[in-house]
Symmetry: C2
Subunit: 460 residues, 2 copies
């Protein structure tokens, strides 16, 4: 008769402890496959516990498949493996890089300020109404898409209907959708070079062919684009990252002509288009596209916060049908709560006011930062196009290469971003050029930044 010392069970219940002892004996082979366990009554009497206790343990073993219950026969041990020898037990888990803390970080997109009070108020409102509980339609909450469409009409002159909009959890997720939508056999993507590396990473992971296209002062070089054989081009005409180039109207029309001639699609990545400090924005490609060749996309990372994770794309009718047919099964990746709050933030005017305040703030900050850096002895020239949250600073000639400078800066806790890092096709013209995001450089931080950069570039 099976015997277990139930006094040794510690804090476990009788039933739990009995279950574990039986299970261990089955796994170790002490109880062999096919062996019949004692009747519940007999074991209960033997161990001086209630039948209910034994019943509980037997039922648990049966539920997990350790024993079979045969009516009118009893409980029989199942065929289970002995414990597999521990081969990779305690295999070391690769540690994560702890988040680096920098004295000065000129690479990360800093954004400032976040409209916390209003956001909190709208969030409370939505929570109390309970309207965040239902899953959103796959393309995104209708009220949010309506608010986005209205915003695009009012501020960018784009005639867009909410049906054309697909909301997604950030730029990279949208790139993923675009890769799936456009990246069939034979699709070649033309990407601006230099350019934002994540675009190439996502399209490349999908297996699409990516051709880097060099730029001139107006954007993608047309002859290189034509020569690439591309059937899709991903570009940022409003304010290129990281060069800051703004594509003028004639070049925009030429790009649309290319798309028409080559039966191609243009993805207009309108990131960083809200903050324009000289004149008004040039009409988006989407708004002058009469042939349904342009997919427009944008996110709220620059205008509200990169921690928000909300972006959207506007599909022309022809591609909208294809999207619904082929990718329509993807559920929305943005929480309903966030979509509700954002919709109200947009439609209530909060977004517009926030942008205006931010624009004023950035205008002043940009002027202060440009002036300060223009006067720094290590700066040869500054390229700024009167838009966006970054500019280029060309260093005075020096022997070290970009990588050596980057490492020296890192050693001093300064994170620098070099234009050359963004180029797939190397070009000496890109050397010694910093990409500086100025959004976070308010008064004290600007002083600090200047001091640290002088340390990096002027000391030996």
């Amino acid at each position: 008769m099976l015997t277990y010392d139930l006094e040794a069970r510690g804090g476990l219940s009788l039933y739990e402890y009995l279950y574990r002892r039986l299970r261990d004996d089955i796994l170790s082979g002490a109880l062999t496959a096919g062996e019949r366990l004692p009747s519940k009554r007999a074991l209960a009497e033997h161990l001086r516990v209630s039948v209910v206790t034994v019943e509980g343990a037997y039922q648990q073993l049966e539920a997990e498949g350790y024993v079979d219950a045969r009516p009118r026969s009893g409980f029989f041990v199942s065929q289970v493996d002995r414990r597999l020898p521990a081969a990779e037990e305690g295999a070391p888990v690769p540690a994560e890089e702890p988040p680096r803390s920098w004295r000065l970080d000129l690479k990360s997109g800093q954004v400032d300020p976040f409209p916390s009070a209003l956001w909190a108020r709208l969030t409370r409102q939505v929570l109390s109404e309970g309207s965040h509980l239902s899953p959103a339609p796959y393309q995104g909450l209708l009220s949010l898409r309506e608010a986005i469409a209205q915003d695009l009409r009012d501020f960018k002159g784009m005639a867009v209907s909410p049906e054309q909009i697909v909301v997604g959890a950030g730029a990279e997720y949208l790139y993923l959708l675009l890769a799936q939508l456009l990246g069939r056999e034979g699709t070649v993507f033309a990407l601006e070079d230099p350019g934002y590396p994540k675009i190439r990473q996502v399209y490349g992971k999908w297996g699409a062919v990516c051709r880097p296209i060099p730029l001139d002062g107006q954007g993608m070089r047309l002859e290189a684009l034509y020569a690439s054989g591309a059937t899709a081009a991903h570009l940022s005409p409003a304010h290129h990252y990281p060069t800051g180039i703004v594509t003028p109207i004639a070049r925009r029309q030429a790009l649309l002509r290319w798309a028409e001639e080559r039966d191609a699609v243009i993805i207009e990545d309108d990131y960083d288009s809200e903050f324009r400090f000289t004149g008004r924005p040039i009409p988006t490609l989407q708004s002058i596209d009469t042939r349904g060749r342009v997919i427009y996309m944008n996110t709220f990372s620059q205008t509200i916060s990169p921690s928000m994770r909300v972006g959207f794309m506007v599909l022309p009718p022809r591609l909208l049908e294809r999207y619904r047919r082929e990718l329509g099964f993807y559920a929305s990746t943005v929480p309903t709560l966030d979509q509700q709050v954002l919709a109200r933030f947009l439609s209530g005017g909060g977004y517009e006011r926030h942008i205006s305040r931010a624009r004023k703030k950035y205008r002043l900050r940009r002027a202060a930062v440009l002036e300060r850096f223009q006067n720094c002895p290590f700066a040869a020239s500054i390229t700024d196009r009167g838009a966006g949250l970054h500019f280029l600073l060309r260093l005075k000639d020096r022997p070290e290469d970009d990588e050596a400078l980057r490492q020296r800066a890192e050693g001093q806790g300064v994170r620098l971003s070099f234009l050359s890092e963004y180029a797939a096709i190397p070009n000496p013209a890109y050397d010694h050029t910093l990409v500086i995001n100025y959004a976070g450089l308010d008064g004290p931080r600007l002083d600090e930044a200047e001091a640290l950069l002088r340390e990096v570039f002027l000391t030996r």
Copy 2:
């Protein structure tokens, strides 16, 4: 000299109106490429406006590329296209299907109840602290991953470190990551059949080969799995959707053996594992896997709300390294705010209490629903495994096929889900079997549901 009737400008400013008239003349060709515009002073005098007004209009035209400013020469019209003929103007935008409102929806995963008050409180807390402003680390907020790891340890006996966890915006997004991680050339995915259709859709979109594997009473048929040549298997051993099958321990060990023999990976999709009403949960595959073959994944859609869009996966060390190397560039797709709130919800004990309350509620509801449906004249039998939020109801024999029944029900505003819809390999054994999600069927709605189903199935 150019002449424009500025009185006709309506609500536009002088500068704006002048800019538009000039632009239109350039686009229409009335002003030809290379033509020199009047000097600012001359035009200002002629139109009786200030020089500043003309200057503003000219600068805008120049910024947009309609004119070139040549120092000491003047402003010259650029070469721009005439407006392209409107070819697809007003191309009809395919309308969306309006959200269908059903009298009874037995297909959608209903979840009830959402912990609104606590969620609102935690949200206010996070907002006031401002800790939601920074983008989260790419694998997800550390405090959230720690809370998830703790939860897995406490309630599932899984030894998991936060470094192994990757947080993502819902199950489909995680499937997308898995497809990229595992779906190289030659990878064959074994999928349970019947099964959750989105899995096949996402992997299929990626281009991976998917083999449907039929089931027996314990899960995937082993001989079919071996015969499939698969190198990855995606399964739900805790409570299969939609059959409800619970995979016992011996079969789990056999599956691990298969993975070891075939150098394969198992994706343990632990959806719907929290609500077990008989006995305790069987150890997860991940917890008995000593060879690093199992990727465990789960979401909070069932346990909190499908509108939340938060899921996670636990990568074994070997695959974690590969993930970081190949997919490590993907930023987190869950808003920082939501991650912060969820982390506190978990670590403060709110989640555990919520689950307990929900489990009690569902236990009672399940019992009531099962009893009611068992006694319905149209039901032949009910299959329920004592776990999860759905069960199978086999209809009594009848001439119509599943599709005819589904349409008849739809005509009466009732949305039904048939087991046969989930099978890639048709099998008459699946016919006439409803998959019923009972989570939303509280007292009044249960009465309503019974009445509507009687209408559908018993009237001619």
